[in-house]
Symmetry: C2
Subunit: 197 residues, 2 copies
DNA sequence: GGGGCCATGTAACCCGTTACATGATTGA
DNA sequence: TCAATCATGTAACGGGTTACATGGCCCC
């Protein structure tokens, strides 16, 4: 399931331009589970056009590039339902925040705090964005996904706030004691400490 | 922050082979926030070797390829701390499950249920995996990340269980009524219904 | 006998990100 | 005057996934 599929999905709500589709990803209803920028959306639409999954009509505007309005075709719809009814891959997650926290002992304590608070702020921001999205009369699926996002960001925020003080204290304590090795301490050959799975 | 960086991170716990490093990703402490397979780990280690971030010694074995044991160098450690202390990109998430749920009205009700329960089971499995990982005397950062994972999977499981009945009922009701259009209904040009952000 | 564990890699491909290129209008 | 909104794209690059290639040992 790639960006193209999601674009076709957006078009089930009605015709749209690439620019409008992007709104679904950026601070839109997809933002918490799928990311895509113009660099993937425009090529995806071109590809979909070549495969007859969409058709396109242009509207000329002054001072701006022509608006290209895409519509889903029957083939596109069939492709979409095929993808949707097939197997879904597992979630793909990549959190550099958690990487940084995992290896926090190699980061200065004040930087850890900065990173932590920055992430928490982002989390809160995402929550606000989701809240601002229309939760009105939408199909059950869309509603579930929206509630999922709200629940998740809320839950993460709660967790981080609940663990913040102790965590940052522990980090300071660890970094104050020896062998934390932020700097240029020797890299010992076969350390085992802290390496248990 | 790529797979190479994570590999260097693993090597701060002591020397390891590519195979052993994979254990950190697959059902290991990284599994809930970073995915990587052999196809990215081995090339990453080769690259790290070429950049002198690691050194490597071989141990011959019979019946198997030589075991290649990697060790972090001072340069590698410096690179790692640089990455860790720099800016972290935002979380990248791609959940095909949520895509499917968002567009659930194009999926047969019984399939929706199957997908839902499958995801829930995966979630529970992930929880069990995390619980089985050693939560013993590890640095604060590792502990936080582990607790984060436990909290998250627990929270998602709770949410899904709490919404399951109503959601599946609603899905059935929607699909039973008209204009759900799983099949080959006409693709109307400029529908707006359900398309609100 | 079969599956899982150990153990390595590479080549092709695909997809996505980043940077570049353009530019008028509107509101703060 | 500056930033944001509207509006499109491409070229180069990078990274990761998939599939292929090999094979013995051990436990059920």
């Amino acid at each position: 399931m790639d960006v193209k599929t999601l674009c076709l999905g957006v078009l089930t709500f009605g015709d749209a331009t690439g620019y409008e589709i992007k709104g679904y990803f950026e601070d839109g209803p997809f933002s918490h589970f799928f990311q895509a920028g113009y660099g993937s959306i425009y090529p995806a639409l071109s590809k979909a056009l070549g495969e007859n999954y969409v058709v396109c009509r242009s509207e000329s505007q002054d001072g701006r590039p022509d608006k290209k309005i895409y519509s889903l075709t029957a083939e596109g719809k069939a492709y979409l339902t095929g993808e949707l009814n097939g197997e879904q891959a597992g979630d793909k997650i990549r959190s550099e925040f958690l990487v940084a926290m995992f290896f926090a002992k190699f980061i200065e304590a004040q930087t850890v705090e900065k990173i932590f608070d920055h992430y928490l702020a982002e989390c809160d921001r995402n929550l606000e964005v989701m809240k601002s999205l229309d939760g009105g009369k939408v199909p059950a699926g869309q509603l579930l996904v929206r509630k999922f996002g709200l629940h998740l960001y809320g839950s993460i925020g709660d967790f981080l706030r609940g663990n913040r003080e102790k965590f940052l204290d522990d980090i300071k304590a660890e970094n104050a004691s020896t062998n934390n090795s932020i700097g240029r301490s020797p890299v010992t050959g076969t350390a085992t400490e802290g390496g248990s799975l």
